[in-house]
């Protein structure tokens, strides 16, 4: 065809694409609600992308909590209006969506982000706009912001009881493994220090690239070092590959036990029940926790969404909404972020995982801890419980003299 025809065709194609994009964008806008009298809450979680594996479940429980609260009359008589934004696991997209939620939609608070990278991308926007972020996930700690309430676990809470328990009950020689980035490295650092204090001994430490799949040589190294326990902070897909291949090589939990603060019910489903059975995990919640609140929570979830594994991040999203609503109720003006943040201090709640409390000072949350053993049904048998344990963003054991930024 000649140049003129080609240009005409290209022009038409581009015009068509532009029109299509405008239509799609217009359709997208209507997910926020306009003109309704209520309190807007931003839900900044990924329903697509690599971290959707965890975050999609959290969206479900957060929305369920909002629905329940609205049925009981809402906050100060007003309904909570969730405004969902999907940042697809990408920190820069998280920042963009956070800006939209805070500046355009003018939400009273944002619940969300998952990885530390996405949280740290969003915090400056929250701080600059005097808003509030509720962060419901396990992370490495060593952080504090006046505008963030951290309702998820931090390393000191899990590790401080877990490591001595392991040394006492399962063995003294530890081999540390982890994925190669800040969270596992910091967790292992604290675990190693606790191991020393508990009278145990480290016989090896190895890190694998994020997303690494081939564990033959690492397993070989572990076998040669002859530990009692492999303490693993390997995360995401690598985790199931590690457990699966560990099992493939015929190593049983009685030979070498894997102890980890990472796996949840989803991971047991993904690695297959045989690979996870018998290994020891510590979490702030297991689906098998036996409280009336948990029973009710699981029943409501199954009625609304069907049967699927429910894990600690999903439970955390659920009680975080309840804590947020309670703080908003306590504050004079639920849309005034500073008042709501102050109202969080000392707030208590009977969560499915047990009684929990937001710390009076450091914006973190006192949580319960459960030690569980994987079983062949893809659940964890709870063999010990601690709690609630006070959160120490800078672990007093490791940093006894660290300045505490909340004590300005």
């Amino acid at each position: 065809m000649n140049k003129a025809t080609m240009h005409k065709r290209m022009f038409r194609l581009i015009a068509l694409l532009a029109a299509a994009m405008l239509v799609l964008a217009a359709c997208g806008k209507s997910s926020g609600s306009k003109g309704e009298d209520g309190i807007k809450v931003g839900i900044l979680l990924s329903s697509s992308g690599p971290t959707a594996i965890i975050e999609a479940g959290m969206i479900k429980t957060a929305l369920m909590a909002i629905e329940e609260i609205n049925e009981k009359g809402g906050v100060k008589g007003k309904k909570l209006i969730p405004i969902q934004e999907d940042y697809a696991g990408d920190p820069s997209m998280a920042a963009t969506k956070a800006k939209k939620l805070v500046m355009e939609d003018k939400v009273a608070a944002v619940l969300g982000t998952f990885t530390s990278a996405s949280r740290q991308a969003v915090i400056p926007i929250i701080e600059q706009n005097n808003s509030l972020l509720v962060y419901p996930n396990l992370y490495e700690g060593e952080e504090y912001s006046e505008h963030v309430i951290y309702t998820g676990p931090i390393p000191n809470q899990g590790l401080e009881k877990f490591i001595p328990w392991l040394v006492e009950n399962k063995g003294k020689k530890f081999f540390f493994v982890g994925s190669d980035y800040v969270f596992p490295i910091v967790m292992n650092k604290q675990a190693k220090a606790l191991l020393g204090l508990s009278g145990g001994e480290g016989v090896g430490e190895e890190y694998v690239p994020f997303g690494h799949m081939e564990f033959a040589s690492l397993i070989n190294k572990i076998k040669e070092a002859k530990p009692d326990i492999v303490f693993s902070t390997i995360v995401a897909e690598s985790e199931s590959a590690f457990f699966k291949q560990f099992h493939d090589y015929g190593i049983t939990p009685d030979d070498i036990l894997i102890a980890s603060p990472i796996p949840t019910e989803n991971d047991l489903a993904a690695m297959g029940p045989e690979a996870g059975a018998g290994h020891v995990v510590i979490q702030a919640y297991f689906q098998s926790v036996d409280t009336p609140e948990n029973k009710a929570f699981l029943e409501k979830f199954e009625r609304k969404y069907g049967k699927e594994p429910v894990n600690t991040q999903m439970e955390a999203a659920y009680y975080s909404i309840y804590l947020l609503a309670a703080a908003m109720e306590k504050a004079q003006d639920p849309t005034n972020a500073k008042q709501v943040i102050d109202a969080f201090a000392g707030l208590e709640f009977q969560a499915p995982s047990g009684w929990i409390k937001v710390d009076e000072e450091n914006h973190h949350t006192h949580l319960n801890y459960y030690i569980g053993v994987g079983n062949l049904e893809g659940q964890f048998d709870i063999i010990d419980k601690y709690g609630p344990i006070a959160p120490e963003p800078w672990s007093k054991l490791l940093y006894p003299d660290h300045e505490e930024p909340w004590k300005k």
């Binding site: 999609a56 799949m213 699966k244 493939d248 690695m271 045989e274 699927e308």
Partner: protein
């Protein structure tokens, strides 16, 4: 003892890598299409195995055949509707296949949900030879990859179809002058390459879990294997997979997993710098 075990593990890794790279050897090596959706074809094969074997509880071999069929169909659709129009335009092909990879990831997420899924291996247990432990599953993977290699080689070198594929690959315009229906040949070749990639996905799913982004890890490694070994020859892919598979394990023994990755990349860069066509060169005029 540790070294022997590492060597044996290297052979296992070689087997898995060869399996995932064979499809790329066909689509990239022979057809010269840069298919960034190669990883997603592996992923689709894995999900097919999940649906057929874990959910529908059909035997594993049925899952493997289903994986071939499903990914071959997707490959055929890709070729017919997208790639056919982009022959000879590598940048557009790259973009288009990248877009397809994102699409496939999200479609799978919509159908199966975002959580990880498991495909349980049909074989378990380990073989113990004088202290060196090799899981039977790994032996099966090595054996299966050799079978797929021989099948592909047979197809390419001992059948009429294979001869047509090689003809088109070596000189497209001359083949068309001679009356060959290059469009149809391309379609079946790409579909075959996609199909065996799907089979690889079904098999490697037993070593790890199944999730929408699992393909990206294999994309880099399979391109490395094909490029290092030599684009255009099956033997090249075998050599490339063997070197990368074995070297990763042996190097990891001394320098850890991360050190091994770094060194492998350096090796590939150095080899390509001095021998751009890869280790096994295809004669060309």
């Amino acid at each position: 003892m540790g070294i022997l075990q590492q060597f044996a593990d290297g052979v296992s890794v070689f087997g898995a890598l060869l399996l995932v790279s064979l499809g790329l050897a066909v689509t990239f090596g022979i057809m010269k299409i840069i298919n960034l959706a190669h990883g997603e074809l592996i992923m689709v094969g894995a999900y097919t195995a999940y649906a057929v074997n874990t959910v529908a509880k059909l035997p594993f071999w049925v899952a493997v055949v289903a994986a071939f069929a499903v990914t071959a169909l997707i490959g055929a659709a890709m070729e017919r509707f997208v790639l056919k129009n982009l022959y000879g335009r590598p940048l557009e092909t790259l973009l288009a296949t990248f877009g397809i990879s994102i699409m496939l990831q999200q479609i799978v997420r919509l159908i199966f949900g975002a959580t990880n899924k498991a495909v349980i291996a049909p074989i378990s247990g380990t073989l113990n030879i004088g202290g060196v432990v090799i899981p039977y599953l790994r032996l099966f993977i090595i054996g299966f990859s050799i079978f797929m290699l021989l099948l592909t080689a047979f197809l390419l070198f001992r059948t009429k179809f294979g001869m047509l594929v090689r003809t088109v690959s070596q000189n497209r315009s001359m083949s068309e002058c001679l009356g060959l229906n290059t469009g149809r040949i391309d379609l079946f070749t790409f579909a075959y390459g996609a199909g065996i990639t799907g089979v690889a996905g079904a098999i490697v799913a037993t070593l790890r879990n199944v999730n929408p982004t699992m393909g990206t890890e294999y994309l880099i490694d399979s391109f490395l294997a094909v490029v290092l070994g030599g684009v255009g020859t099956l033997a090249g892919t075998v050599v490339g997979s063997a070197i990368i598979g074995e070297a990763t394990q042996m190097l990891a023994y001394f320098w850890g997993e991360i050190g091994a990755r770094i060194i492998i990349f350096l090796i590939v860069i150095i080899v390509i710098r001095f021998r751009p066509e890869g280790i096994i060169r295809l004669e060309s005029r």
